[in-house]
């Protein structure tokens, strides 16, 4: 069944989009991430322009992270003070990202920027993830306990001023790295159409030593707010959010996420992380391939104005 997308201005198969929503939702539920880093490339692949894809996916992630945030909230696994601190700079990061997005689009370099951002970011994340999970798997194989957090261990980050105490997460850290992380997540989210959950969770764990009990819930609240505001800003400045496309994606996404979550709970943590690392790696490779290999068509068109 074909449906015409009013903003993307092209007809798509409803079941294809719904299926993509389900598949990405399943993966996002399994790993506890938003899934934007998979959804945006998939939409580009079916012919939706990168700009519309990035803008629309933000609303899709808002929906799925709201579901997640609600369930973590019920389990009292959200550190609201930490989330608010991250958000204060996250919104600023999103606004900067949307502004840069608009500028790059005018310069015809948006697609390139999206491509490069994906490659750089995903490569770094992958390297860290694979390293970490392989080490963890090896360690358990040798009979050693897999401890991610060593209480009492301090890094230079703990020496920074403006220290704050976050009660629910039981951490005492400087506000500077918290703001920096919030800003970075908001910024890359707006540029790349990703919620940043897969970045934020490791950052919170490694840099701030947030305990696993509150890390995912808190990250989901942050994702929810940055993505909802990214939707708002993209719609107001670039008019690129396709509500029809977003609706189909959301419906598929939230259903898929429920089933994914059940599968995810049955799997071992380290294995799950390795799998996620490989998945991210595959997406990164795809973008790298596109940047390096000579394109089939050197020319492309961009709509400037009517009349």
């Amino acid at each position: 069944m074909q449906i015409y997308l009013p903003i993307a201005d092209l007809p798509v198969n409803v079941f294809l989009i719904l299926g993509m929503g389900l598949a990405v939702g399943y993966i996002s539920g399994m790993f506890g991430i938003g899934g934007g880093f998979l959804m945006t490339p998939l939409l580009i692949f079916v012919g939706i322009s990168p700009a519309v894809a990035v803008a629309t996916v933000s609303s899709h992630i808002a929906a799925s992270s709201f579901t997640g945030a609600l369930s973590y909230w019920r389990k009292r696994a959200v550190d609201i003070a930490l989330a608010l601190m991250l958000l204060s700079s996250g919104i600023l990061g999103t606004a900067t990202g949307v502004w840069l997005f608009t500028e790059l689009r005018a310069l015809d370099q948006l697609d390139l920027m999206i491509g490069i951002s994906y490659v750089t970011l995903l490569t770094v994340v992958v390297a860290l993830m694979i390293y970490e999970s392989v080490r963890a798997i090896l360690r358990t194989r040798h009979g050693m306990p897999a401890t991610l957090r060593r209480p009492g261990s301090h890094t230079w980050l703990h020496g920074l001023p403006f220290k704050l105490r976050f009660k629910r997460s039981k951490i005492y850290v400087s506000a500077i790295p918290v703001w920096a992380i919030g800003f970075v997540i908001g910024f890359v989210g707006a540029i790349m159409g990703i919620g940043g959950g897969f970045l934020l969770v490791p950052m919170l764990i490694y840099f701030l030593r947030v305990p696993t009990a509150t890390v995912i819930g808190t990250s989901m609240v942050l994702t929810l707010v940055t993505m909802a505001s990214a939707t708002l800003m993209h719609a107001a400045t670039n008019h690129l959010v396709d509500a029809v496309l977003a609706l189909i994606l959301m419906v598929g996404g939230v259903i898929g996420a429920q089933f994914g979550a059940r599968t995810g709970q049955k799997m071992r943590g380290e294995r799950l992380r390795l799998l996620l690392g490989l998945l991210v790696f595959a997406v990164g490779c795809r973008f790298a391939y596109e940047l390096v290999v000579k394109p089939d068509d050197l020319f492309s068109l961009r709509y400037v104005e009517s009349g």
Partner: protein, 258 residues
Amino acid sequence: MRRIAITLAFIALLCGAGPAVAERLVVSLSNHRVAVTSSFVGEELVLFGTIEPDPVTRPLRPPYDLVVTVTGPRQTLRTRRKERVLGIWVNVDSREFLRVPSYLAILSNRPVNTIANPDTLRRLQIGLDNFLLPQRIGTDFADTVSDDPFRRAFVRLQTQQGLYRESATAVTFLTPTVFRAAIPMPAAVPTGSYGIEVELFTGGNLVARTNSALDVIKTGFEQYVADAARDYGLLYGAVTALMALLIGWFASVIFARD
């Protein structure tokens, strides 16, 4: 009597064929309004027409050739070219095509270059190679030669999307004087007003022309959404964000496991 003669002379002048006018075109379009709905996957419009002697006593001069040029609403597009910079492919150079048709179909009963000589085709802008596509070159506006790489790429990309086409089989003569032209409207057809120019040739000369028009409109929900997104961006964004929250909340209620 004199008035009729003046009128005839005037028509002849309009037809641009001098006093030797002998043909008149009568055309009718199957549909003047193409509605783009949520299930729109493209459509084919049919233009029917007859060639009539004018005045009626004059003999007809078959065989005839017919060219139908359909132009969509004008828009400005930028053609960009990638080049390898530091190992990756980057948009380096670009040209803007100013106020060019968003849709352009040149339909004829045989290849246009066999219908008239190159000068005539160029003057009448018949064929994709002869249609005026002005580019911004520095501060100047001009159409370049038809084998300019940017122009070629532009036409090729538009053709790939089904928006530009030149078809030498789309017009068929049912009898020597009755014809039928099929106008394809692809799924991604731009909305707006379209002009249809019908030109009749015999012996390589333009002998009659007429025009028609059609509108492509988004209707119902699609129109509503597109208008809202353009005119009330912030409100539209807020509604979309609320929709996301509502669906997220809905899912957590439905799938809540206690």
